[in-house]
């Protein structure tokens, strides 16, 4: 047994939506220390969500220092720092003062809805899908930049004059780590750049035409780099004293980092992260696949000057949040974990199906006119059947995305690697394996996002040599194998699809 941790280590910063964390990993990919700090969610209006980027940078410095102390690590023990971040959250800062010129606009913020509709014009939301792999939706960064420049007085002039820098949170953290106003490097990685609606997926460069249409001056944009290379070294500030000279060597958007941490390095390997919502990504290799089924095309990762690896992405808006809804709004359970107890008290769903289209249907339907439905109710149905239907909804939605991925890529899913809070739900994981008709596998390190950033940074500095070394670190903590009669699976899937149909067209306008 080797329980004592000695260096060298890799530190990973996870700048997330609700908190910033730093995790220190050893060579086996085991966690040595964690530090975490939450930041304020600023909600100026309904649908608007902002973060104070200055607060976030202070927190990042604190958690890095905190994790160093907890790990008992010195400067020489840390070989590199990697970064993963909430995707699409957009900010602008003054390159001379280093101060943000406005709060960051968070990915969930819907203020650019109208702007996206305008930009779509006659073509609609798929106007730039061919070039960028994305639909014109409020999540993505480009229109958020345009909104800031058009709505905050003085910003457009400053931007044109070359005084402003744009970044997603990776750029902001890297710029500050590498010296800020004193020579900080202004870069982003391919995965984060692929969420701006401004990058050509084909050649990984900024699309000048789209930028011009959107009204984003090119001089605010960072340089696009790979996900795994040394961007610069820690310089200046409090972290300069602690970690001066340590290479800053990776950046990946959080979902891509999880794909990397789950070691999905071969074509057809996929991971699904079950949190409030669910994000599933499948590695499609060097091939860029344009989805016919409403999935997003995105960059999975790029290691140094190797070819980029692309991915298909499907997201489910409501998964864990449906369990929370059962707890908080319906009061049917006291804790999220109790959903399993309630659901396990019956043999099946009793004929009930729950489609949680609370804010419309996402991939593969993209129907904003849909609203939630519980279908198949009879007097026989109890709250336990509903609890079962709640869990089954997450599994069926995963199945729909998996089917779309198979259709687009032509690759059958051999196994699904899962992470996130809902993986502690045994009933759900078994049902997932049953309806996918594929094994569902949970890795031993739950922190796959941070691990992915650490892996990419470690590869860049030679701490690990190849992705094969990283695969060797991957450990299976549990595996659920399919055990469902194919006839039952087909019948249930058909019923689910019938229920989905009944959600559509609820809103009329």
């Amino acid at each position: 047994m080797t329980d004592s941790h000695t260096g060298p280590f890799i530190a990973a910063i996870d700048q997330g939506t609700t908190s910033s964390r730093c995790i220190v990993f050893d060579r086996d990919g085991r966690i040595v220390a964690v530090d975490q700090k939450e930041h304020e969610q600023i909600l100026p209006k309904p649908g608007w969500v902002e973060h104070d980027a200055a607060e976030i940078w202070r927190n990042v410095q604190e958690v890095v220092a905190g994790a160093m102390v907890k790990a008992g690590a010195r400067r020489d023990d840390i070989l590199a720092i990697g970064i993963t971040n909430q995707r699409e959250t957009t900010m602008l800062w003054d390159k001379h003062t280093g101060q943000p010129v406005h709060n960051a606009i968070v990915w969930q913020d819907t203020r650019t809805d109208q702007l996206c509709k305008q930009l779509g014009g006659d073509v609609g939301q798929d106007r730039w899908r061919r070039e960028t792999g994305l639909p014109l939706a409020a999540y993505f960064a480009g229109p958020k930049i345009a909104w800031l420049l058009d709505n905050v007085p003085g910003l457009r002039e400053k931007a044109e004059a070359g005084d402003l820098l744009f970044g997603t949170m990776d750029s902001w953290v890297i710029w500050n780590l590498t010296g800020g106003v004193d020579g900080g490097v202004h870069v982003t990685d391919v995965t984060n750049a692929s969420r701006t609606l401004l990058m050509n997926l084909e050649d990984l460069s900024w699309n000048e035409e789209i930028a011009a249409e959107m009204g984003v001056p090119l001089q605010v944009l960072p340089e696009i780099r790979s996900s795994s290379e040394t961007y610069g070294t820690v310089t200046g500030g409090t972290l300069g004293q602690l970690l001066g000279g340590v290479p800053v060597a990776s950046a990946l958007g959080d979902q891509q980092a999880a794909l990397f941490g789950q070691t999905c390095y071969s074509v057809g390997e996929a991971k699904s992260t079950y949190g409030t919502g669910t994000f599933m990504l499948m590695n499609t290799g060097e091939k860029l696949i344009h989805s016919e089924s409403g999935l997003l095309t995105t960059v999975g990762y790029r290691i140094g000057d190797q070819d980029p690896v692309y991915a298909l992405e499907g997201s489910i808006a409501v998964t864990g949040s449906l369990v929370q809804w059962m707890r908080d709004q319906m009061g049917l359970i006291k804790t999220a974990a109790e959903i399993e107890t309630l659901a396990a008290s019956v043999e099946d769903n009793g004929g009930a199906y729950f489609v949680p289209a609370f804010s419309g249907l996402f991939a593969p339907y993209w129907r904003s006119d849909a609203r939630g439905v519980i279908a198949g109710l009879t007097r026989y149905v109890t709250k336990a059947h509903i609890a079962r239907a709640v869990l089954e909804a997450t599994a069926w939605q995963t199945r729909e995305i998996t089917d779309a991925m198979t259709k687009d890529s032509g690759v059958e899913l051999s196994a699904l690697k899962v992470d996130g809070g809902m993986t502690s739900n045994n009933l759900l994981m078994q049902f997932l394996a049953d309806v996918l008709d594929a094994p569902v596998v949970r890795p031993m390190v739950a922190e796959t996002t941070c691990l992915g950033a650490a892996y990419a940074a470690g590869l860049a500095v030679g701490f690990w040599d190849t992705t094969d070394d990283l695969r060797a670190n991957w450990r299976r903590a549990a595996e659920w194998t399919p055990d469902m009669d194919p006839d039952v699976r087909d019948r249930e899937y058909k019923n689910w699809l019938k229920a989905v149909e009944r959600t559509m067209g609820w809103l009329e306008d």
Partner: protein, 254 residues
């Protein structure tokens, strides 16, 4: 009719009073409703408050039912909650110990496996969540029987099957093992359930320091034992894990 304890009767009446109708009552309301002197009522309320059965609103000074009373009705810990809390710690135990980890609770004369983490090698393994293990011979079972009176009562009545030559089946001998388990804070199983397999387990306690489950490592004797004993570093790792989960459940530090 047997004589009842007056102060307990009064306390019960107070709880009923607070449970019905108006939720918050002042001292004089309570005293007059029950026909008690204020000082007497206050003394009983203070005791109830100390036990957490009654709470006093700091602003109005009025009394209401306490959180402890609500907890009394639902003391049992949901096993899925237990699994969710234990997940990180048990992953780490499997990783550091290099062996499979099991989490068990008392269920119908046996140990119900509610969580299982694979041994961290590439071998083929089957998830054993939902399986039952015997109470008298496994490390998980011994820990639970040593600390949980209900489990102990069941063990006494149960048929104690001799699985191997090493299985202890006679009640007096088992009591000695349980006593040792209580004293050392963990239990072992040296080929007492399965030939060639040994395990070590420690109790998970809740905020009242009541046992809610047990966590342990199971593996081949050649790997987990040295000189016929469980390797001390594995014992320490299992106990650390049990303590960490207990702490997450609100148990005070040991």
């Amino acid at each position: 009719m047997a004589k009842h304890i007056q102060s307990l009767e009064r306390a019960a009446a107070m709880l009923r009073l607070l449970a019905g109708g108006e939720r918050r009552l002042g001292l004089s309301d309570i005293a007059s409703a029950l026909g008690l002197a204020k000082a007497t009522a206050h003394g009983i309320l203070r005791t109830l408050q100390h036990e957490g059965f009654v709470e006093q609103d700091p602003d109005s000074g009025r009394y209401q039912l306490g959180a402890e009373l609500l907890r009394l009705g639902t003391t049992y810990l949901d096993v899925h909650e237990l699994r969710a809390r234990a997940l990180v710690w048990t992953d780490d135990l499997a990783r550091s110990g290099g062996e499979a980890v099991y989490l068990g609770v008392v269920h119908q004369h046996g140990v119900l496996i509610v969580h299982h983490v694979f041994r961290p090698d590439d071998s083929r393994q089957v998830l054993e969540v939902g399986a039952m293990q015997p109470m008298h011979s496994t490390a998980l079972g011994k820990v639970l029987t040593a600390l949980d009176p209900v489990a102990h009562a069941e063990l006494v009545d149960a048929k104690r099957e001799p699985f191997t030559a090493a299985t202890v089946t006679e009640l007096p001998d088992i009591e000695k093992v349980l006593e040792a388990t209580r004293a050392q804070g963990y239990a072992t199983d040296l080929e007492e359930t399965w030939e060639g397999v040994a395990s070590v387990a420690a109790p998970i306690l809740d905020r009242h320091r009541l046992p809610v489950g047990a966590v342990g490592i199971t593996g081949a004797v050649e790997r987990v034992c040295r000189d016929g004993e469980l390797r001390p570093e594995l014992v320490a790792a299992v106990r650390d894990t049990a303590r960490s989960v207990s702490r997450d459940l609100g148990a005070k530090p040991f």
